[in-house]
């Protein structure tokens, strides 16, 4: 009996344990409150305007009525073109940095640059995009310029996610392949990439969410407040969900109260659906994990 009696010290440890656990739980709850509030208010006030027509009709009456079709399709354009640019570049850069780059000052400088790129405010990216893509390269205000601006901004996400998932593949696998006479590329293609694809895709989907939601970078470079038609190619301007939300919330008089909430709800739903896809995909791939 007396062997397992709680001592003064045990009692103290138990109280500290309880305190720490409760405190951290509180922090966690605190963290979900804003998210829950945002979703709750959006659904409560935005849901009434949602309808099939809202998604498939163009805005009318100075954007105070009609739907959001042009903005929705515009966002799809912008995201797709941005991915086409950033995913190949980002993955290639990450493969180089993780698998080929020697550990020297240049590599360290590049890594530092990537971290800094991630820290640059989006408005600075917007001005860069305006100068570089709109003016210097002469793409004008277009989907191409907007997407490239977003691609530059989101490159660090792809690079970091890819590099981390490449490095999660055990080094012993690489050595085993090299010892069999495989080149670095053969090793990467047959063993490293197939086993890091889930991490890479997670990074890509994170990037999609970010790209869909950004406003400032596209405002100066290719997104228009209002266009009555869909873009026909990458050199056209387009409407976009994020900018549309900004415009109907602040720039247009006499917008029905529910409309901006509806736009925000659609935008946030797009992002949530993509995140959910990413999580589901990750779970699926984790179950297929091979070591």
């Amino acid at each position: 009996m007396s062997l397992f009696v709680r001592t003064e010290l045990d009692e103290h440890n138990r109280r500290v344990e309880w305190l720490v656990k409760t405190l951290f739980l509180l922090m966690t709850v605190l963290l979900i409150i804003p998210v829950a509030l945002i979703m709750g208010i959006l659904i409560q006030r935005g849901a009434p305007v949602l309808s099939w027509g809202f998604l498939t009709e163009v805005p009318t009456n100075g954007m105070t009525a009609g739907g959001i079709f042009t903005a929705l399709i515009g966002t799809v354009w912008i995201v797709a073109v941005a991915l086409l640019a950033s995913v190949p570049i980002g993955v290639a850069a990450a493969v180089y940095l993780s698998e080929y780059a020697p550990d020297n000052w240049l590599t360290r400088a590049i890594n530092l640059a990537i971290i800094n790129l991630a820290g640059v405010p989006s408005i600075v990216h917007a001005l860069f995009g305006l100068g570089a893509f709109v003016v210097f390269f002469g793409f004008g205000r277009s989907i191409l310029a907007a997407s490239l601006t977003l691609a530059v901004m989101t490159l660090p996400i792809v690079i970091v996610a890819t590099r981390e998932s490449l490095q999660a593949v055990p080094h012993a696998f690489r050595e085993a392949c090299w010892n069999m006479g495989a080149t670095r590329w053969q090793t990467i293609r047959r063993v490293v990439l197939p086993n890091s694809i889930s991490g890479i895709l997670t990074g890509v989907i994170l990037e999609v969410s970010r790209t869909a939601g950004e406003t400032a970078p596209i405002m100066f470079t290719g997104a228009a407040a209002f266009l009555p038609f869909l873009p026909q190619g990458v050199l056209d301007q387009t409407m976009a969900m994020s900018l549309h939300l900004y415009v109907v919330s602040t720039q247009v008089p006499d917008v029905p109260d529910a409309l901006p909430f509806g736009v925000a709800l659609v935008l946030i739903s797009m992002v949530l659906v993509m995140n959910a896809t990413s999580i589901a995909f990750r779970i699926y791939l984790r179950n297929k994990r091979k070591w």
Binding site: E175, A176, C177, W178, M180, A182, Q186, W291
Partner: protein
Amino acid sequence: MVDNAPKLSVRNLSVRYGDKQALNGISLDVFPNEIFGIIGPANSGKTSFLRALNRMEEFDPNMTVEGDILFEGQDITAIRNVYALRRKVGVVFPLPVGLPMSIYENVAFAPKLGGIKKKAELDEIVERCLIRAALWDEVKDRLNALGSLLSGGQQQRLTIARALSQNPELLLLDEFSIAVDPVTTMRIEDVLKELKEEITIVLVTNLVQQARRLADRTAFFLESELVETAETEELFSGVVKDQRTRDYVEGRFG
């Protein structure tokens, strides 16, 4: 055996990692169809020796190798086509590494890299190598199962099958029995005895008795130096040039 030309001639080989000397000016010969044992305590340079033989410094910018390594008379320390060298040399690591692919693909990997595409030919290689590595009977019904999910002992035999799949002329084993149960160890040892009819084997081992059971000749490494090389039986019957060898073999340190 000793009347042949050496399969491998190492002259004045030094290996450094940064400032740290791992191997200091060793010279030795390995002859065809022998099992050449290397014994010595931890950090005596045994693994560095194997790494140098397979030109692993290519993948470790920190590692520098000096001296000559002659493979069938040809110096390999300067060749550009290290891939051809590595195909001739099979390596088995201390911890088994089943690649995250099927058992079949593990063994077919190197032949595929070598350009073999015909299914029948690959099937034949996979079966032959798994049989030689004493694993065929246990896995023949589940060749599509993941190699990385086999037990440790099975994975180590899979690693050996994989090393054999590239038809190596030289097989390097680095303390292969560390993560393997005694029964599997004995099975692998039997495999090695059969294999030496066809290929040359360098066996690094931390088990002095394993060297005694398998090796024709044995080298004793200590503190980055080669203390001596001798016929294994002589080494174990006390005919040694250096007192330190006797002490190590008889278990007085190490």
